[in-house]
């Protein structure tokens, strides 16, 4: 085997430039795959994490009749004594924080423009608000007793040309099915890193939101964050109670979860297309090599080498090309992925009009060991498969015909 390796290695060395570029083709393909996989992984991880932190929490407890699509504010759809419910939930071990939230739809109007928004009533003191509090770009965060202030996101502020201290009119749907309107002062502007979220979400103190919408002391949901996402399923059982529904982050981000599952399967086709293109380079190189070395194949055959042994030589050459390509691919891909995991890829996702999913404004690549191993193995196998046809071609040559070939 060592002799075959030596022979194969030297054969590749005969035309170093060609061998290098063949390996490079596979290397670039692998680098591209690593980049694609890490981009998807990074994006999906970020999107899920973002959706959990900003929008859904790990769990939400709602009344059994609450319909999120309608952003219902009817009293029978809302949770009574939400503070008490939240306190009970917070007492459960794996729960990090539980806080009531009230959701309403509305629109913000300035003198020149207006924009549809989602109004979220929050307990300003809750730790669940950390993503907004930490993302404050100007002004100050809300206080529980603020009756005239609201928080808006950077994207909305830019669109409506608002800054801290400006006064806007906020119109919201109420429990009675009417629309109520009130002037508010912009207390501060936050940025979560997701323009899609920041352009749509306006925060009010819970008490003010309850008063404005006529929800009285009620809330749409108790928003629950856990110490660890993996605990989600374990906590569900503890939260079951008659008249309530418990929704997990998977239920609340169904589109995102489905997209992640789908992406894993359709990406395989992209991988195979990219590898297929690289494989044609390997096939081409090896077929050229077989024809250039036809007489040598005849010589080896004449001294007693069997077809299978000839095949092994050519397959070994393909394997060496694959190893070279993989090393180049890991190097190129590793550098690019490492760079993008630090600095990210700018993403104007708002312009893509994706609704129902949150994306950060930059994609940070995330390369998992599993993806790296899978793609490396896939590249190796595809290269070997690509080398199979030339190897079979060599192994089936009749020695007499091969020996007659021009050098």
């Amino acid at each position: 085997m060592i002799q075959i390796l030596k022979l194969a290695f030297r054969n590749l060395g005969r035309n170093r430039r060609r061998s290098f570029f063949s390996a490079l083709a596979m290397g670039v393909a692998l680098a591209l795959l690593l980049l694609m996989a890490s981009t998807i992984q990074g994006e999906m991880n970020d999107a899920i994490e973002l959706a959990i932190r900003l929008q859904s929490g790990h769990l939400q407890v709602r009344t059994a009749t609450y319909d999120e699509a309608k952003t219902s504010l009817k009293w029978e759809d809302l949770i009574e004594n939400p503070g008490q419910v939240a306190a009970q939930i917070e007492a459960i071990g794996p729960v990090a924080v539980a806080t009531p939230r009230l959701y309403a739809s509305g629109f913000v109007t300035t003198r020149e423009e207006s924009a549809g928004v989602r109004v979220v009533g929050i307990d300003p003191l809750s730790d669940a608000n950390a993503p907004y509090r930490d993302g404050m770009q100007e002004g100050s965060f809300l206080t529980p007793d603020d009756r005239e202030g609201l928080l808006i996101g950077r994207a909305l502020a830019n669109r409506l040309e608002l800054s801290t201290g400006d006064v806007v009119n906020l119109s919201v749907n109420t429990s009675g099915g009417e629309v109520d309107e009130q002037a508010f002062t912009v207390r501060g502007i936050y940025s979560t890193g997701s323009s899609g979220y920041d352009g749509l979400t306006v925060f009010l103190p819970l008490a003010k939101a309850q008063a404005l919408t006529g929800a009285d002391q009620r809330a749409s949901a108790v928003f629950v964050m856990l110490e660890d996402t993996a605990e989600t399923d374990a906590v569900i059982a503890a939260l079951q109670a008659p008249g309530y529904q418990v929704l997990t982050w998977r239920d609340l981000n169904e589109l995102l979860v489905q997209t992640e599952q789908l992406s894993a399967s359709y990406m395989v086709f992209f991988y195979l297309i990219v590898l297929g293109i690289a494989a044609t380079v390997i096939v081409n190189t090896q077929i050229m090599s077989v024809y250039e070395r036809t007489r040598e194949i005849g010589i080896l055959s004449a001294i007693g080498m069997r077809g299978r042994q000839l095949m092994v030589i050519f397959l070994t050459e393909s394997a060496l090309l694959a190893v070279g390509g993989i090393l180049l691919g890991l190097l190129i891909g590793g550098v690019v992925v490492a760079y993008l995991s630090r600095y990210g890829i700018p993403l104007a996702i708002e312009q893509f009009g994706i609704t129902g999913m949150l994306f950060r404004d930059r994609i940070y690549t995330l390369l998992t060991v599993r993806d790296t191993v899978n793609l490396t193995l896939m590249s190796f196998v595809v290269t070997l498969l690509a080398g199979l046809y030339p190897a079979v071609l060599a192994s089936r040559m009749e020695p007499v015909a091969a020996l007659r070939a021009e050098k």
């Binding site: 030297r10 055959s301 004449a302 001294i303 080498m305 069997r306 077809g307 009749e398 050098k407």
Partner: protein, 231 residues
């Protein structure tokens, strides 16, 4: 002892609808230790007969026996096995693997026959000395003259101690001194080791080394003449 034998062998090549009869019913027996020349004009069937004797090809009809075994209908791999242990080849072109050194070229048949590293080294050293290239084992073919390359090919042909060595115009691409040196090496090895040599040539100087001359004409044996004694 009979090393090779062909009985009523024909070989027809078909190119499109045109058939070429390279051999038309050849009978020939090669005995152990012979140093035989196959002579004849171009197209007389010398190379075709060598290819059949060397199990590189199969006859259209008739039988080919190597060491008493009928090899006429063996498949590709069976013929490869037969060649590996029994037959050595020397070609008109210097048929060495260019990426391997002289030493490694000679080593190849030994590797295929499963010899140990120690056995291989001893045999290669012995053969390099025998062909007068004891100091050139590390040289690649492109670092050797044509004559030296052909001597390496002789050493490789002898490596597995075959009973029959077939040479197709072994001096055709060599100048006279190198051609002489190659023929003298072959003659000496035939005498020293008793290995049977059959070579095709139309060079009168080379024919002069043969002890048996088989003349082919139009795919048939026209003359079979013994001109010297077995060593």
């Amino acid at each position: 002892m009979e090393v090779a034998k062909v009985e009523n062998v024909t070989r027809v090549y078909a190119v499109g609808k045109v058939e070429t009869h390279a051999l038309r019913g050849v009978n020939l027996t090669i005995e152990s230790g012979e140093f035989t020349a196959l002579v004849g004009p171009s197209g007389s069937g010398k190379t075709t007969l060598l290819q059949l004797l060397g199990c590189l090809d199969r006859p259209t009809s008739g039988r080919v026996y190597i060491s008493g075994k009928d090899v006429s209908q063996l498949n590709r791999d069976q013929r490869a096995d037969m060649r590996r242990g029994t037959i050595g080849f020397i070609f008109q072109f210097f048929a060495l693997i260019p990426t391997l050194t002289a030493y490694e070229n000679i080593e190849m048949p030994l590797l295929l026959n499963g010899h140990t590293a120690g056995e291989r080294h001893a045999r290669i050293t012995e053969l390099l000395e025998a062909v007068g290239l004891g100091d050139r084992g590390a040289s690649r073919p492109d670092q050797l003259s044509g004559g030296q390359q052909q001597r390496v090919a002789i050493a490789r042909a002898l490596a597995s101690k075959p009973s029959l060595i077939l040479a197709d115009e072994p001096t055709a691409n060599l100048d006279t001194p190198n051609g002489q040196q190659v023929m003298e090496t072959m003659t000496r090895l035939n005498k020293e080791t008793g290995v049977t040599f059959v070579f095709a040539t139309h060079d009168p100087r080379v024919i002069g080394y043969a002890r048996r001359v088989v003349t082919l004409r139009d795919g048939l044996v026209a003359e079979d003449k013994t001109v010297g004694k077995k060593p």
